[in-house]
Amino acid sequence: MPTITIFKQDLEGLLVGPGEMSQPITIEQLEESLMLVKGELKGQNLDTGELRIELQDSNRPDLWCCEGIARQIRVKRQGSLPKYDFLTIKSQSPKRLNVAPGMETVRPYVAACAATGYVVTQEGLAQLIQTQEKLAEMFGRKRRTVSIGIYRLAAIEFPVTYDLVRPDDVSFTPLGMDTVMTLGEMLLVHPKGLEFGGILAGHDRLPFLCDAKRQALSFPPIINSREAGEVRVGDDALFVEVTGTDLSMVVLTLNIFATNLADRGAAIEPIEVRYPYKTSLGMSVMTPQDLLRSQKLPVRTIEQALGQTLGAQEVAKALMAYGYDVAVKGKQIAVTLPFYRQDLMHAMDVVEDVAISRGYGEFLPVMPSQFTVGGLSRIEEVSDRVRALMVGMGFQEIISNILSSPQSLRDAMRLGATEWGKLVEVDNVMSQNFSALRQWMLPSLLRVEAASNRAFYPHRTFEAGEVARYDLTQPQGSRTVMVLGGMIAHADAHFSEAHSCLDTLFYYVNHTYSLEPIQHPSFLAGRVGSIVSRGKQVGVIGELHPEVLERWQIGVPAVAFELDLTELAE
């Protein structure tokens, strides 16, 4: 979800056509209108008119800019999308961009257009750069699938070539540097080369964009030339290109830029891209281009999904006012997305747009009417029962993080290389404190005990909750088990206190058990037992080993037990 910065005045200007008188928009009106774009106003600066807006829809990159937001609102106000003539004009001798052979294995696709007659303003330039960054970052997956370059048109002689060159073959001065360097040097030295160079890893020839005089435009997707690729306020002729690995995403991205510039008053001149290999759009591709994402669907489908009878005309009206092209044929409706969108995967995508266009407030909520029986899972019932018993025996319940550290879960418990010490650990560790799932409950209780030596004694604490047990017999390599842990700590804490509580629990959950002496490093030898019920080991009880208490810096004796509730529930 990108968050973008726009300027209120710029937005107001874009809500009407270029050169028309703009109307001020109030913050309330803006917030209402932002529902059309799934946007939320996150902040505003009244002095500068700066607005921070978060856009939720990750499939609508056309909305991640001031122009796109304004367009969606304007279309709703005007009832339909105006025609953009650059999609239909046919030029006898269009400007050309030639793609070099071999590019299909490196970065196969490119789209480009020229934009003239719009004098770049401060705000317009800021939006252009922001849109370029957001689209390349979030839609273009950090430039991997899509990256964008914008240039001063005046300096460029056509045809432009999207060439493949060896790293040392060509050199130019990149943006942000003062010296001429080769493409290879840019990958090694330039910050953008270091950041995005990985995209080109493994290729011995690199993409290079240049004009008819072999003047460097850029090294896609890394960096533009400083000479041709630094757009300034006051420029009135631009060249925009998009390169990438997915043709429809590349064309869509160019369509968005072309529409944005057209909305600011520029005349868009399409450019013909000639490939030496086949693409899904042929070997000669005019860009921008309407990819005509369309679908036929019964009006009934939309009405059923919305739970409301609207009729074909109402549906058509709502979709037109959201930018669609619509044709009604009886009970069928044929819809085509505006050319700056591609997010039509399923009929339900159309349904949502009908609802948004009409406004969610237009739909009267209806309670689901069918009867269902509520209830808890068996394990939750068992857990609730033992929790109530623990409370009755005077224990204070606690809740802990399930993510903990191997130090707490294993090392401080003296479990070293034992079976008890096996953990489900995190691969991409952010903090050691949160790098393993707890495999048992006692460290959670000890965590509280260690922090509470000022709380008056006795301490009786418990937690019922989930732990993850490493278990290679399971498909996921571990089992999630619900366990109960109980602990008693005070100057005279004694094994028999914990034993009495355990005994009481078993009585009231109506199971029998026995204790069998075992060796367990966390407990004092001879004061620890395995809890066995119905022939299975279901837990452990004992007096905590002084070394464990020492490791946790606990100054009183503690006795504890842990019980596997998942076993009890069966």
């Binding site: 969610y360 650990e425 949160f434 005990e449 509470s452």
Partner: protein
Amino acid sequence: MDISSLIDSLHPLEVKVLSTFGGDRSAILQTEQLVQSTGLEPSQLSMAVEWLLAKSLLAVDTETATPIVSLTKLGELYFEKYSPIERVLSVARDAGKTGKRLTIQDVQSREGLEPTEVSGAIGKLKKEGALLIIQGGCIESTGRPSQTAEAMRGLLQQLHGAPRELRAFSESQRQIIQDHAVKRGNAREPFRIDDRVTRALKLSESGVEATQQLSRQKALEEVSQLTPELLKDGNWKTKRFRKYTISLRAPRIAPGKRHPYREFLDTVKTKLVSMGFQEMRGSLVETEFWNMDALFMPQFHPARDIHDVYFVKEPAHASSIEEPFLSQVAQAHRNGGETGSTGWNYPFDAERARRLVLRSQGTAVSAHTLATQPAVPGKYFSIARCFRYDQVDATHATDFFQVEGIVLGEDINFRTLLGLLNLFAREVAQAKEVKFLPAYFPFTEPSVELHVRHPKLGWMELGGAGLFRSEVTLPLGVTVPVIAWGLGLDRMAMVALGIHDIRELFTDNLDLIRSTKGAF
């Protein structure tokens, strides 16, 4: 208050005073007599007498005020070092013997006396004819005695450490005492006259009754504890139980108690069950398949990034994914399969699907439920622990509870979705006003954000919901429409618990946990 409860409330001092009267309604006792017979300190006695008078158990028969003379601090000083009048007369006589001339200033400086003391003494001596003031402001002894100077010595000696009644002195002594007693405006005097009030006290009618009851009780032995033996042999009837001061602060105990956050979640759980929801449970460790693929999040989705999800170290991959779900979901991603969708058009990576992660969203639990032939109509919920790769701070926890679920039914559509959210708003947040905003979730279409006006918090986002995409439901074998919903309750929980830092939900501070009241 009746007599017996009045008796129960009596202080031991009061009982002692009352008993002195022996139940005799005609007995009239002076306070001095009471001091003697009770053996109490006068201050204790007067306290007890005041209490009894206030309770109308005693009455005042007569009250007499006796003037008592005592020495002030200054008087005690005069007793030791002689009074100004004695000292002035003495130096004047010494000067007369040696023939020295003595000015008033000489007297003042030699004796270290205040000018007012000297002038007062000289005035008195002159009046009584014991001194003369001669030319040059000198004083001279006449050799005649001063009545006051002589009487003063006697009085100081008699009263030193022993106050006496004023009437014990002769007329002339009384005159001197009164002349030299502290009065308003003149505190520097050797004598003080106070009225000692002597009361003659008698029992009131209720006092008589109380004394009689007391004397009956006297026969009973006082014990501090009722014992099983006393109950068994019936001897409790012959005992009196010591009264406790029940207004003292109670000793603190630590009760057994649910954790306040868990209590909050229990309430939510109960509400959901009462609305007809069945609980689902899942696994802490999930495959990417169930956590994301099954929810139609493409494998290149930004939220699947290494910076958003915790990956499991070992084993890194699940041994297998259940069929036919794996194939059907993979197909939906590639080209939509049978779902009526275009799909995401990318090569689905089955290896990636087996990658193990820590469950990052409760919707993973719902995905499993969809794949296990859920009831139709059906309502399900889970309160699932989830993990996010986030820096921990006041608003971000690394593991947290997600409350979420699904509703399946032939009657499910956009309007019933809004109806369900209305129900949540009312039942869970006690909110009457709601707003529905368009939202985006990868697995629902249409998607809604539920905003409510909470009675305490004002407008807040309560949850998100939507209709599961066909790309989610059909590959898992569900053909009816399904609502997916989730509630964000942590903010409400924090308000209920009175905390401002999300980390405190899982605090290790036992004192804090014990003392948090919790509320919902």
